[in-house]
């Protein structure tokens, strides 16, 4: 499985879209850094250097965080579909590996790429912002936030990889983004409801979002945990319940996707 895991990296580091995104990230870091230097001298003279650096890093984290979902969808789509399109899948599955091993290894490889991309971007930003402010810009909260963000990334990759087996790249891209929006909406709608209020005036949209809220991971809640870590805010009450729900539903959908892939004719 090691060979297949590293083959996922080998496949993606030539991917032009990934190279383009990496270049854009570096441009954003350098632009932010130049802006930071300017602000430090002209506008934010009254702020401490440490505060300027930390705030820049937080702003940068938000930018990278919003991109990471797109990168996760893109890499997720390519992880298995590119093997099907190139004809490599049949050759790969003729080796003594099960389809479950193949599927999960590709997902794990893709997940590692996106998290590595995220981590390297943050390290680069921290180094440059530290140099610009002559202060060590570092927060453990950023690394904690990265752990929670990576949970979101994993599910998005899993979903994109599975949907792309049946549908084209564009359809998968649109479908996953729409589903993520519905998942966020459902989380917001039902996340803070009192139980007594839940069953009042239950319409079609309520039923639909309620099902989504319970059957799919609450990515919005996980993303909120990430923000809490980032700004060192207290976690919401019962946060662990949402975390357990995430692991339960991710395990459920992973099992459904793997079973479905294993039973399909290629």
């Amino acid at each position: 499985m090691k060979a297949l895991y590293f083959n996922t990296f080998h496949k993606e580091y030539r991917n032009r879209a990934i190279i383009f995104l990496a270049v854009i990230t570096i441009v954003v870091i350098l632009t932010s850094n130049a802006l930071l230097s300017y602000l430090r001298e002209e506008v934010l003279a009254q702020m401490s250097l440490e505060a300027v650096g930390q705030n820049s890093l937080l702003a940068f984290y938000y930018i990278i965080g919003s991109w990471s979902s797109f990168i996760a969808i893109y890499i997720g789509i390519g992880s298995i579909k590119s093997d099907i399109d190139s004809g490599a899948l049949i050759q790969l599955l003729s080796f003594p590996i099960s389809r479950t091993q193949y599927f999960l290894t590709r997902i794990l490889g893709s997940f590692s790429i996106v998290v590595l991309y995220y981590l390297l971007s943050l390290i680069l930003a921290m180094v440059l912002f530290s140099l610009a402010t002559h202060n060590v810009v570092f927060s453990w909260g950023v690394l904690g936030a990265l752990v929670f963000s990576s949970l979101d990334i994993f599910f998005v990759i899993l979903l994109s990889a599975f949907v792309s087996i049946r549908f084209g790249t564009l359809k998968t891209f649109v479908a996953v983004i729409l589903l993520m929006m519905v998942m966020s909406f459902s989380s917001m709608k039902w996340g803070n409801q009192e139980w007594q209020q839940v069953y009042k005036d239950f319409g079609i949209i309520d039923t639909f979002t309620f099902i989504i809220y319970w059957l799919l991971p609450r990515l919005k809640s996980i993303s909120d945990f990430s923000t809490s870590m980032l700004i060192e805010k207290e976690f919401p009450k019962n946060w662990w319940a949402d975390l357990i729900h995430y692991f339960g539903t991710t395990l459920l959908w992973s099992t459904i996707f793997v079973k479905s892939f294993s039973k399909s004719d290629l």
């Binding site: 083959n7 030539r14 490599a88 049949i90 003729s94 080796f95 003594p96 039973k263 004719d265 290629l266």
Partner: protein
């Protein structure tokens, strides 16, 4: 012992019967040919052997293990009809990757890769990228993959497609050599002349059903395999 054993295998795609109660036993150490016109169900059967397609009913085993068990494929080498892999890999990189996928260790990999490249006639092309190779040269990478491990069973899907006459001659010689080593070769082919020369036994399939099976000489009774095949399929 039968290295391939299929009993009452059926496969339908909607209303179309790709295979209907198909049974087949292939004995160890032979060269076996599966023949049939386009749409006969040959590729479906090869895909069932590799667990890429699941039969609607019936049982299939390789070397005594059901095809659902990934360990069954540890004893099998496969050459696809249309060889394709990542174009940015080099010839050597591809064969090394295959060696790793087949569980070869670092210590055993290098000599095995060198021997496989040499036998497949790819030693001089080892640094080339797959995107720079011709169809016939790509097919040779698939052949190198077969030679990496001492597989008991080699499944060859249209093995001569893309090879030039020299390549076909060399590959036929290689097949005889592999049989001498005690390996079993299962060939799915349209190349009747090659099959007649190579195979100990053949099976003719049409519209998902078996029309004939046996030793080539016993079936043809002096006719050419081409004439026998034509009369069987047209008479069906």
């Amino acid at each position: 012992m039968a290295i391939i054993s299929a009993t009452d295998v059926s496969k339908s795609y909607g209303n179309i019967d790709a295979l209907h109660s198909f049974s087949l036993q292939v004995s160890e150490g032979s060269i076996f040919g599966l023949l049939g016109p386009n749409g006969a169900g040959k590729t479906t059967f090869v895909k069932i052997l590799l667990d890429l397609v699941h039969p609607s009913s019936g049982n299939v085993s390789l070397c005594g293990l059901p095809t659902l068990d990934p360990r069954a494929r540890a004893t099998v080498g496969y050459l696809p009809e249309k060889y394709s892999f990542y174009p940015y890999y080099t010839v050597q990189g591809t064969v090394e990757f295959y060696a790793q996928m087949q569980g070869l260790t670092k210590a055993t990999m290098k000599p095995a890769v060198d021997v496989a490249l040499e036998k497949a006639g790819l030693s001089e092309l080892r640094k080339r990228k797959l995107s720079q190779l011709s169809k016939g040269q790509l097919q040779r990478i698939g052949i190198a993959n077969l030679l990496l491990c001492p597989h008991q069973l080699l499944i060859l899907d249209e093995p001569f497609s893309g090879l030039d006459p020299i390549g076909i001659k060399e590959f036929k010689d290689l097949m005889f050599e592999l049989r001498k080593e005690g390996r079993t070769l299962f060939i799915n082919s349209h190349g009747l002349a090659e099959v007649e020369q190579l195979c100990d036994e053949v099976c003719i399939l049409n519209k998902g059903r078996k029309l004939a099976q046996g030793k080539v000489k016993d079936l043809t009774k002096g006719e050419s395999l081409e004439d026998f095949f034509y009369s069987k399929v047209k008479g069906d």
